[in-house]
Symmetry: C2
Subunit: 719 residues, 2 copies
């Protein structure tokens, strides 16, 4: 099989050999490929717009706009140039210039925020004259990328009339990157930040990272791991950070840093880091002042405090609010902000883990300074394949909450499983908290609609590494892309984004686009089925989180073990978080707290998250017993991966051979690992259900002991 | 400065924006760029050959040949195709086919080994008809790459008549790559081996790695670090190794593994790893048999034993020969070999470190099994910027010695210093050991001429990583290249190779090629001057080996400290290894042992390696005092880097903008760090010389304490 495989590969390389390059599409260009449009009609249409453009004004951001238009026009059309305004069929303008054009051409420019853009055609059908207008240069840059997306996704430009503004202010990537180049929970190679070579060596990758982020509206990046190394705040490292900040500035991207709360002791030599100590406050004020001298538009701090061993205000008997506000006070004169993570669970507390963030932060509502956001993971545990939304969303009217999504797939198969997270993000954002009655969705909490927050934000834990294709798997570029799109507009449709991404990245053939979009849309549900169906959670390998391990029962803390979460026993399976159990449902608003208190009114996808149910419990949608339904889902999930792989293979002729082959190999791995998850989990739970597998199902190829014996000491991304 | 820098970068990207691709030459294609030849006359000449080729026969290796010819012809010429033999102007053939052609066309094919090739034109000046003939398919592959090099370096093909055979049998890369992706002493990013995704996912990089190696004749690769993880020998990892071996096979590359001597205990659960224990021997026999079942052409083992904490036969009171022979016996039935490293220095021994390898291995000469090579680092200490050759070369007539060069620049500025190692390798290989009288060069020891060894080899510790340009710096690709060329022919000229590489990689403009070749040729001597002039050695930072630190005196073992090696004191500086000192010169053959015993007959480049001399010692070549000569060399070295940087900047218009800018940034870093080395070392030694700097020299910008205070906890590549 390996040999066949090799011949296959050879054949593919051979196919591309008409090109002067070694390889096909290696994925580096992401969704900004700008390949020549082969359809003459289309190309000629776009030529009437992008062939002659004018960028009105000059500045670093407008240089970026010029560079992008030049790159895109020469790529997409084979020609295109900047001309004088009067000759231009595409005009990019900002600020007063934009206002003047609007007036001159009688353009009705809808009201929008500074970073919004308005794209409007004042020309004729055969000769469009399109304006991209914005109050700010940054908005004009976003508008430029939006216009290019229209072309990349085959939309007609004549008569275009698009206004868009970001609904969320801070659209931020979180890099869990250590200073030694290791990326915690990173599955795409080493950190893209080469701290050793900075500030003297600027990798071309940094430029293309900035372009990619700007193209989807991401306007901030936290460069280092939340498990922060205090060295990041030393002068030598601040010079390195500055080099990146200077590079990113024209792209509208601000730089943030994760900080260790005990830095005053570790770096400053103080005896305490107590946030109420004047000496500590002074140390932070001076450090912040030093940072802003180096980086005048520095964004602020991200803090993981009193969580998984990190120091925090709790070490000094202070609250999270007292800790956050101390840093906020130091940052406030410079308009810097604090993103304070709510992911906390304490050793000493007796409370069930899913309840702790709410218990800790709900009482602090109203106590945080104006420039603090509390950053909350989407679910109450930890980026599981599926979780209900965190009950904190909607619970803190006085405190802006920032969403923390994970883009890297710590619990979802690393970088060889194809899982589009758009549907998962959508599911969370569409969830109704009922905080102010029906329609109080998580999206409206995050974008500030619900409580009129003065500051809003969404963070994504990046899946980016130094692998040539950035994310270790071309298909997973879609998750970086959809994160940016949903941070711009939390109500955008996951399907629309999947469709755009596929066109920009993989193919313009309509059937192929449909097929891939469908695969993407189905992929998360499929994965949940073969990993953690029906609300099961936290049953993965210990430490590295790779593969199935529902048997883990040896870790020091109860709530680090798989058995704690599934509670499989002869009487049934699942975690009773209803009022008869730990009662986490009480943290939700009515009617959820009542609905989720009972299995029959709990959505099946959360069934075993909230309830411990007997093996013969009847699952209403299917009429199957719980045992049979679990088995069914595991088998269905694995089967669906095979179906996806077969579907992909049928698309071969419509996709670049290197892209095709890379995804083919990954899907083959996913197929194997889906069966591994299925077999290991089914065999494990069978011990307790004491019921057989239905006869028609393929039997596991190994016994449970075999699966339990597997170990992966070098699995990537370990913390 | 940072801001200016950024604008600069922008300007450059802007310049390339006429291209549809995001970037210029990113270095991935190495020396196999195959860009279209723009000169019509040249292109038409090559078209008469490469335009119509025939590869006679079919096999995996010949598929590789076909693929390469297709890639090269379409790239270099824009056209080219495989045709029938009779129509072909270029014919590749091996074995019986080759012999038939030779006979048919009356070609006088010189005698050569299996892997040699003969390229011969039987056509006319206007219409060449060129045969690439070899006894083996592998030789035909090498010949194909050689023919392509002729084209890439602008050589005329008409009348070509080139015969070449490898002078060394085993031409092997050593990857010091750990299973978690970290590369010990790696400065080009993470390991290219993605063990997690293997065997299912074959990165395109593996294919291009194989192509690059085959193009320069490298025929073996040791995949893992000599500080070996025993897990490498488990079935799961052997399947991963197999995937690579299967891929590399058609390229003529065999796979080897580093093994841990205590594997029988660690993996097999035995109570001992004593090589004379039958149980241990049985364990290895079975393990080797398992490996060959998986990988029928497996190459063998590389072993680091009883060295820097690694286990070895000495732990059981056995000799290196007993250890090596036990493994050799297990490998022998499968034609596998053992490469046993001579890099040993023991804690308990009282002997000076530079003498230990000789003392340990010289007495074992004649005791090693037939399929064992002893792998010796070029110098007696450890890959210092400059060392005299190891006295083991020439000292073991009965034992084949394998050269171990370091390609990665552990002690030479990592990946931001431009140091071409060709001259350093050449200096070592040209060194006369006098083992059998004058002319007994190291090259002749290595290629087996001197002692008629039945087996010969050269190993290079790879500088390859997952950085897009493979080596962290485009210029350092030349070191991978020259290693391969010198392993094929230890007597090839470093300048010729530098010239070839420059043409293939950077430019075809003759003045540019000359300028870059000169920079390459000068670069090592320049670096030695600003790091360790006149035979100084081992004065770098502790642990990470980054930057100057002649003050290191706190490490547990004497011979881990800088002060041990330079012995600077008021009475002078340098290590007395003459008969009045540790007398390591006695390990060399006459006349070296007499010549190097006295400072006046010791080459100045080794002066302080062998002698401790007073500060006012008169250096004969310059007439300067030792102190003034040391100062002069440090300043000269730093000045020469500035000169190189200025030279490079003058070449801007002849070099791809991205290549240009990347090297420009690296040279700027090198310039800064050369001054750092200079200032730190001069200030340090000044304490002992108690003499001032000459007035005309730029004063160090900091005091010694400053340099001593610098720390680099996250310097890359740490072991």
């Amino acid at each position: 099989m390996i040999r066949l495989f090799f011949l296959c590969l050879l054949a593919i390389t051979f196919q591309c050999s008409a090109e002067p390059k070694i390889q096909g599409e290696d994925g580096y260009r992401l969704w900004l490929k700008y390949d020549l449009i082969s359809d003459d009609v289309k190309r000629n249409h776009y030529l009437t717009v992008l062939g002659k453009y004018a960028v009105v004004g000059s500045s670093p951001t407008f240089e970026v706009v010029r560079q992008e238009l030049s790159l895109a026009s020469s790529g997409l059309l084979g020609e295109g140039q900047e001309v004088k305004e009067k000759e231009a069929s595409l005009i990019i303008a900002a600020g007063d210039n934009a206002a003047t054009f609007a007036k001159q051409y009688g353009i009705e420019w809808p009201k929008q925020g500074d970073d919004g853009y308005f794209i409007h055609d004042v020309g004729s059908q055969n000769q469009p004259k399109i304006f991209v207008l914005s109050k700010s240069e940054k908005g004009a840059l976003y508008g430029t990328f939006r216009l290019l997306k229209q072309i990349q996704t085959d939309d007609v430009l004549s008569g275009i009339n698009v206004a868009s503004s970001p609904k969320v202010q801070l659209r931020v990537l979180n890099h869990w990157d250590n200073l030694d180049g290791h990326v915690e929970r990173g599955y795409a190679g080493r950190s893209i930040w080469n701290w050793h070579k900075l500030p003297g060596y600027i990798d071309q990758r940094y430029v293309d990272y900035a372009r990619a982020n700007a193209s989807i509206g991401i306007n901030g990046t936290v460069l280092n791991n939340v498990n922060a190394d205090p060295l990041m705040l030393t002068p030598a490292y601040l010079q390195k950070v500055r080099a990146l900040a200077d590079l990113f500035r024209p792209y509208g991207i601000q730089v943030y840093l994760s900080v260790k709360f005990s830095s005053p002791q570790l770096l400053g030599g103080l005896e305490t880091s107590d946030p109420l100590e004047p000496g500590v406050q002074k140390w932070w004020r001076e450090k912040v002042s030093e940072i802003y001298k180096t980086i005048p538009d520095f964004g602020g701090f991200l803090v993981k405090a009193n969580s998984e061993g990190q120091p925090g205000p709790g070490d000094f008997g202070r609250t999270h609010a007292e800790g956050a506000n101390m840093l906020a006070a130091a940052l406030q004169p410079f308009d810097g902000i604090v993103m304070w993570r709510a992911f906390v669970y304490a050793n000493e507390k007796n409370e069930e883990r899913s309840k702790q963030a709410y218990s800790e932060f709900k009482p602090l509502d109203g106590q945080f300074a104006n420039n603090v956001l509390v950053q909350v993971k989407n679910g109450p545990i930890d980026f599981q394949p599926r979780e209900p939304f965190s009950p904190l969303f909607g619970a803190t009217p006085e405190t802006p909450l920032m969403m923390e999504f994970q883009i890297t797939m710590e619990y979802l198969g690393f970088s060889t499983h194809m899982v589009y997270l758009g549907t998962m993000y959508e599911e969370v954002l569409e969830s109704d908290t009922f905080a102010k009655g029906e329609g109080s969705t998580v999206a409206k909490v995050i974008d500030g609609q619900l409580f009129s927050n003065h500051i809003t934000g969404m963070a994504g834990v990046a899946n980016i590494g130094a692998d040539r294709n950035w994310t270790g798997n071309i298909m997973l570029q879609s998750n970086w892309y959809v994160f940016g799109r949903m941070a711009w507009d939390p109500e955008v449709s996951a399907r629309e984004v999947a469709n755009d991404w596929t066109k920009m990245t993989l193919s313009h053939d309509p059937d192929t686009v449909d097929a891939v979009t469908t695969m993407l849309m189905d992929s998360h549900e499929i994965t949940v089925n073969y990993m953690t169906p029906l609300g099961l959670h936290h049953i993965m390998g210990a430490g590295h989180h790779f593969g199935p391990a529902p048997w883990v029962d040896w870790l020091a803390r109860d709530d680090w073990n798989s058995v704690y979460y599934h509670k499989a026993a002869e009487d049934g399976v699942g975690f009773d978080r209803s009022p008869t159990g730990v009662n986490s449902v009480e943290q939700y608003f009515p009617p959820l707290k009542e609905l989720w208190a009972k299995p029959e009114t709990t959505p099946e996808k959360y069934l075993l998250w909230f309830h411990h149910l007997p093996w013969d419990y009847r699952v209403s949608s299917s009429g199957r017993t719980l045992w049979n339904e679990i088995v069914h889902r595991y088998y269905q999930g694995a089967e669906d991966v095979a179906r996806m792989a077969a579907k992909w293979n049928s698309l071969k002729e419509h996709i670049d051979p290197l892209q095709f082959e890379q995804v083919r190999m990954s899907l083959a791995i996913q197929q194997k690992e889906a069966i591994w998850w299925r077999d290991a989990c089914v065999l494990y739970f069978m011990q307790y259900s004491q019921q057989p597998l239905p006869d028609n199902l393929e039997k596991p190829s190994h016994d449970l002991e075999y699966y339990q014996s597997l170990s992966f000491p070098h699995a990537p991304g370990q913390g």
